[in-house]
């Protein structure tokens, strides 16, 4: 594996290797000294064209715990705003000798372009590109599900599990990444969204689509319920009209205490964060014992350590 751009590129074995490696990484984080020497001398650049303190900190912590040198590069500009272009930024990073570039970008495909543009020689790790993919998020989601829902997790996939993903699928890189990865790992995926927030052309996706949360709770034995963040302004402002009002969205798609109690006893509640409490998820659901939302954050560091390790250390092992 040279780059991590899309979960669509991952085979079942790739995905399980990352999850198993993440489990090992997580175990090291229980020790007193958490820092590993594995990536000493390697340079990891966090290249963020879009604000995301959470994801950046998670990657930064992962790289530092593997003893890599970390450079944070916040490129707020873009070719649109007449800032530095993606190409020039990439050439700059290449000149600085980046071994891996973790990129977050507002444009779908930017990570792919960085990896395939011939500008950079290092590995590219997609930390979210537009509305396309966010592979480490879905890997940490799968890792969290496996930990909670699979009795003997090491080496296992997610066969037999049913995962419902609720919300703005149209604009969600988290949903796109999860649909492919969870399918590859053998889970059944159910997308729950108003028809306005389901992409035209979704038919080939390996998942079911239903249009209210109640319907999903009724028709499926859900093991993991993942609530997506709703961007309030994007949904109803400027004539975009994806749904009539936040109140109606909450009524049809929000996870409240009543709906929470309709889940099977073992089911977990997930959210990639940051949450809109009161819109897609109530405080009762977010803070309930079933919620693994905070643990997702911790698992994010372990999964990102695994990804960096496999991209950078694995490369030398192969030589």
């Amino acid at each position: 594996m040279r780059h991590l751009l899309s979960t669509k590129d991952l085979s079942r074995d790739d995905a399980i290797l990352i999850l198993d490696t993440a489990a090992q990484m997580a175990a090291t984080q229980e020790r007193e000294v958490r820092k590993l020497p594995t990536l000493r001398g390697k340079t990891v650049v966090n290249l963020f064209f879009e604000d995301s303190t959470r994801t950046r900190i998670s990657f930064e912590a992962a790289a530092k715990r593997l003893s890599a040198d970390v450079i944070n590069f916040s490129a707020k500009g873009s070719s649109v705003s007449k800032g530095e272009s993606l190409k020039d930024t990439a050439l700059t990073l290449q000149a600085m000798g980046a071994d891996a570039v973790v990129v977050r970008h507002w444009a779908s495909g930017a990570a792919y372009q960085l990896a395939h543009g011939g500008w950079l020689h290092g590995s590219v790790l997609n930390a979210g590109d537009g509305t396309h993919q966010h592979p480490t998020q879905s890997l940490l989601d799968a890792f969290t599900m496996r930990r909670h829902l699979v009795s003997d997790p090491t080496g296992a996939d997610l066969a037999g599990l049913t995962v419902a993903i609720v919300g703005d699928v149209l604009h969600s890189r988290v949903a796109r990444s999860n649909v492919h990865l969870l399918h590859t790992l053998g889970a059944k995926v159910v997308l729950v969204a108003p028809a306005t927030l389901v992409p035209v052309g979704i038919e080939p996706w390996p998942c079911d689509v239903v249009h209210t949360l109640d319907q999903a709770l009724e028709a499926y034995e859900i093991d993991a319920l993942m609530m997506l963040r709703v961007q309030r302004e994007r949904m109803t402002g400027g004539g975009s009209a994806f749904f009539p009002s936040p109140a109606e969205y909450t009524r049809l798609f929000g996870l409240d205490g009543d709906r929470l109690r309709r889940l099977p006893d073992h089911a977990i509640v997930m959210h990639p964060g940051p949450m809109n409490r009161g819109l897609e998820i109530s405080a009762e659901a977010a803070d309930s014992p079933r919620s693994v939302i905070v643990e997702q954050v911790a698992n994010g560091v372990a999964v990102r350590m695994a990804a960096l390790y496999l991209l950078l250390a694995g490369e030398e092992g192969a030589q």
């Binding site: 669509k8 873009s78 070719s79 649109v80 272009s85 993606l86 190409k87 970008h105 507002w106 444009a107 779908s108 495909g109 930017a110 792919y112 372009q113 395939h116 590109d129 537009g130 509305t131 396309h132 993919q133 890189r173 796109r176 992409p199 035209v200 052309g201 979704i202 038919e203 080939p204 996706w205 004539g239």
Partner: protein, 434 residues
């Protein structure tokens, strides 16, 4: 006076083999020709002779974006592609919405002399869709403008469109529409379908084109005017044009080489060279367009040659400009997609790329004429066996944004004559004219 030219043993329209004598810019004999003394004799065995090609849809970028193309570099690209006339779109800076700008473009084209440049005037001032531009002044200028288009943007307001259609009847003009519902395509990046869903690029629904095509066909019928629809890209648009023609509406339609060859699958590379307006569609749309070109529902093939500076393409897909080069590759692409597949004959190519566009553009007194005695010697020689590999850097355009880089095309123009003057000669003929 230049020397007479004898084109020996060409295949006229791909049908009959004959020789052509050109003297003083005119075809003076076709058939068995005895070369006059001092004549340049060109062996055209194996070559197809077509009337000089006419591109109803070209962006020459001058004035305003001379870093992407100039009238001179675009004219050279046109002549190398086999074109003897191009219609230059109005979305320059300043916009070609006054007699002054269209006359400047027209006379610059004549000065260069590699291709007849016919300016297309803007329908609305500044392409803003609000006020009609002074189309009458452009029509009566030296540029003699007959086609009007806001190409790049749609004439979206139905009242403005109606008035424009009515108004151009005054001087037998036509409105050339870029059919795109602006609200349905806000932020749109590529065809809305399975590929856009997966790639996370904002979708451009087929209906955004089709609804405007239908509206404008009905408006043209209502006011009894003539509308030409640019770059049809969907199977639905084809159906609407077919219906409108059956109903007797005065509508004509064009397709581009890229919409006849490429599909939305190419967006998987996220390479903005494949980003174009309207977007590349699905294979079933390509198939419908090919059928419509073959059965005459689509009247012409035009390039929508759209040069862009490197920095406008070497960036994120969403940040990149729409458009691709087309003048030099059009013949090869059409041969590959339609002639070699048996959908079109070379006779059809002459109709689609020369005769019909000349008629729609109202220049059929000079262009798109028969290869016959007494006609102006606008002639394109095509070598259907001259396979070549496209390389953006080798094209004559100032920009290099071709989507066909690395692709092998089966044939190309090898000589172009404009009123008897060679405007392009492939190296094999340079000696004969030396």
């Amino acid at each position: 006076m230049s020397r007479p030219i004898v084109i020996e043993n060409a295949s006229l329209y791909g049908d009959t083999t004959a020789s052509i004598l050109v003297e003083d810019g005119v075809i003076t004999a076709v058939g068995e020709v005895a070369a006059p003394e001092g004549a340049v004799v060109v062996d055209a065995t194996g070559l197809i002779a077509l009337p000089g090609l006419v591109d109803l849809h070209t962006h020459l970028r001058e004035p305003g974006r001379e870093d992407a193309e100039t009238i001179e570099t675009g004219s050279r690209a046109a002549s190398r592609g086999g074109w003897t006339a191009v219609f230059a779109m109005a979305n320059t800076n300043p916009v070609a919405d006054t007699a002054g700008v269209v006359e400047q473009v027209w006379s610059r084209g004549r000065e260069i002399g590699l291709v007849d440049v016919f300016p297309v005037g803007a329908v609305t001032v500044g392409l803003k869709g609000e006020h009609l531009s002074e189309m009458g002044a452009m029509a009566h200028s030296k540029a003699n403008v007959r086609l009007f288009s806001d190409d790049g943007v749609c004439v979206y307001d139905p009242v403005i469109m109606r008035r424009a259609l009515e108004y151009v009847k005054t001087f037998d003009g036509a409105i050339v529409q870029h059919a795109q519902d602006l609200r349905l395509t806000e932020g749109s990046q590529m065809h809305e379908g399975e590929v856009s869903a997966e790639l996370g690029l904002a979708g451009w629904p087929a209906v955004a084109e089709e609804s405007i095509v239908a509206r404008d066909a009905l408006l043209a019928e209502h006011v009894g005017s003539r509308v030409h629809v640019q770059h049809l890209s969907t199977a639905g648009s084809v159906e609407i044009i077919r219906w409108a023609k059956a109903r007797g509406i005065s509508v004509t339609a064009e397709a581009t080489p890229h919409h006849l060859l490429l599909t939305d699958e190419s967006a998987r590379t996220y390479d903005p060279l494949f980003k174009v307006n309207p977007p590349l569609r699905t294979q079933s749309d390509v198939d419908a367009l090919r059928a419509a070109v073959a059965d005459g529902t689509i009247d012409i093939i035009a390039t929508d040659h759209a040069p862009h500076a490197a920095e406008d393409k070497d960036c994120e897909w969403a940040a990149a400009s729409f458009g691709m080069l087309g003048l030099e590759t059009a013949l090869g692409v059409i041969q590959k997609a339609l002639v070699d597949t048996g959908a079109l004959t070379w006779r059809d190519v002459a109709r689609l790329m020369s005769e019909n566009p000349a008629r729609i553009g109202k220049v059929d007194d000079q262009h798109g004429r028969p290869l016959a005695e007494g006609e102006p010697a606008n002639i394109t020689l095509v070598d259907p066996a001259a396979a070549w590999t496209v390389d953006g850097a080798q094209l004559a355009s100032r920009a290099s944004n071709t989507p066909y880089g690395g692709m092998e095309l089966p044939g190309r123009a090898v000589a172009t004559l404009l009123r008897g003057e060679p405007t392009y000669l492939s190296p094999r003929f340079e000696g004969a004219f030396a």
